[in-house]
């Protein structure tokens, strides 16, 4: 398949853009593979890509029940950052950010990674102190962080209401300049295309309906396109993790599925040059390259597998938006949807061998798994190839909940809806 380049764009323009070929093959399933990855979201596709690229394992299938890009990878608000305080998270997400920085070149696909910065607002001196603590922790881990005072925030984001009498008065903020946004679909399509070029079979419309087992050992999968066997099977199905693993007889995961909503306004000329996270961290917005404001808030806060939420959150999110930027009241909401989050009990992910022989698990991404996509795939591929975790994902085990080594960045306790 042809590489993308300025030359290819020019050449295809001359022939009326009629000669572009499809981005990945549509193969029929083979009876067996060396590795099967269940879930063709960002994480599953990235895992397959790194299995081939980093570990030379090319005989791999990615099994997706719907179409590539239909899950959370195509439903998120695209914020990419590594401003974590706890060491395991800081190191893992910073590794991911570094992979993002070179990703368009590595995939030969423009993922439109835009390092426009992510600014966490502080609405009280206490919150600014907490931001300072976090910023210091980040810098100790070699991650960029800048504490901004009120005037610097006002200069950096002229759209914010900086008056004293608002619901959320702004006293400063914590900026991560290297953070930003990326194109969600491009991640799905870019990894799919690059994995396909390395020989990986992407099997769409192929739902896993059960597992083949010998005793406790998982030896294959049953799908709507037939049985497929493999000695190693990785599960990366985000919000469907509990349902898929139940088919293998595992029903005691530290995960709840919750719905998170996202919103896009009508397009307008450039008004917002960064990502703003405010109202105590419960609201976030950026402007897409098409011009729409992309924004969201918190979970609906009850278990849900419905890819749509309820109205109280709709009101809540817009109240916060208008408290920060009252002038946006005139905008019209264009699109609005929900996605199902795999909320873990401590807010941190799970990338591990197990829980059964032959199985490998990648889950618990909460609402932060888009930015994690490159590192998640990279670490999961390492774990599957070597039957042992990389140092970066060694803390993200499943049994940390039993041994007391939870990684609770928010300090929220074992309540998924609060993570």
């Amino acid at each position: 398949m042809a590489r993308f380049s300025a030359w290819a764009v020019a050449k295809n323009a001359l022939s009326g853009n009629r000669n572009w070929t499809s981005q990945w093959r549509k193969p029929d399933p083979k009876p067996s593979y060396d590795v099967i990855i269940i879930g063709g979201g960002g994480h599953g596709l990235a895992t397959a890509f790194y299995l081939a690229k980093e570990h030379g394992i090319h005989n791999v299938a990615v099994v997706e029940k719907g179409w590539i890009g239909g899950g959370n990878v195509g439903r998120n608000t695209t914020i990419v950052r590594s401003n974590y305080e706890l060491r395991p998270n800081a190191l893992f997400y910073e590794h991911s950010l570094k992979l993002w920085e070179g990703l368009s070149q590595v995939l030969n696909y423009n993922v439109m990674f835009s390092q426009r910065g992510v600014l966490y607002l502080a609405h009280s001196p206490g919150e600014l102190d907490a931001h300072a603590t976090r910023g210091n922790a980040m810098r100790l881990h070699g991650i960029d962080a800048e504490l901004l005072d009120r005037d610097a925030v006002a200069r950096f984001v002229p759209q914010l209401d900086m008056s004293d009498h608002t619901r959320f008065p702004i006293v400063g903020g914590l900026l991560q300049p290297r953070a930003g946004t990326a194109r969600h679909d491009a991640i799905a399509w870019g990894y799919a295309r690059a994995a396909d070029q390395l020989g990986i079979d992407i099997l769409e419309n192929c739902e896993v309906t059960g597992f083949l087992k010998k005793g406790d050992t998982v030896t294959g999968i049953q799908t709507t396109r037939g049985d497929i066997s493999a000695p190693k099977i990785g599960v990366a199905v985000a919000g469907s993790t509990s349902e898929v693993l139940r088919k293998a007889g595992v029903d005691n995961l530290p995960i709840e599925s919750h719905v998170l909503q996202a919103f896009v306004s009508e397009a307008l000329k450039p008004v917002l040059n960064t990502v703003v996270i405010g109202a105590g961290g419960h609201f976030y917005m950026s402007q897409s390259d098409k011009g729409g404001l992309v924004y969201g808030g918190e979970l609906d806060k009850y278990n849900s597998y419905a890819q749509r939420g309820n109205l109280p959150i709709v009101e809540d999110v817009h109240t916060m938006m208008l408290a920060l930027c009252p002038q946006f009241a005139k905008l019209r909401l264009l699109r609005h949807w929900g996605g199902i989050m795999d909320m873990s009990m401590d807010g941190s992910p799970i990338i591990t061998k197990g829980p059964l022989p032959g199985l490998y698990l990648n889950a618990g991404w909460c609402y932060g798994g888009f930015k994690a996509t490159p590192a998640s795939g990279w670490c999961f591929a390492h774990t599957i190839a070597n039957d042992a975790p990389h140092a970066l994902n060694a803390p993200f085990t499943l049994d940390r909940f039993n041994t007391g080594y939870t990684i609770d960045e928010g300090g929220s306790g074992p309540f998924p809806r609060l993570q």
Binding site: P254, N303, N310, F401
Partner: protein, 91 residues
């Protein structure tokens, strides 16, 4: 989403707060093993479909309710007041 409170009738979601899964059993300390506590604190069935869960009507009568709700459709198929004394009351 409307939740039927046995005490107050059909009320808007915004009057309620979610307490969580109603199927987990708090272990009995004298005989509980560490694994029982692990299950109670961390392990969830997390079904796609009917789910028994606790909600508090804190914008109304403040009772804690056991609601059976379909997590895929948001349809509520039954509510009753939670707790051993009142079990079985309501709808």
């Amino acid at each position: 989403m409307l939740i039927l409170c046995p005490n107050c009738g059909d009320r808007d979601l915004s009057e309620f707060s979610y307490v969580g899964d109603a199927t987990v059993q708090r272990p009995n300390p004298p005989e509980a093993r560490p694994e029982d506590w692990q299950s109670f604190v961390y392990h969830r069935q997390n079904p796609r479909g009917p789910h028994r869960e606790l909600w508090q009507h804190n914008g109304g009568c403040r009772l804690i309710l056991e609601v059976t709700r379909n997590t895929l459709t948001h349809e509520i198929v039954g509510t009753k007041v939670a707790g051993p004394q009142r079990a079985g009351s309501g709808t």
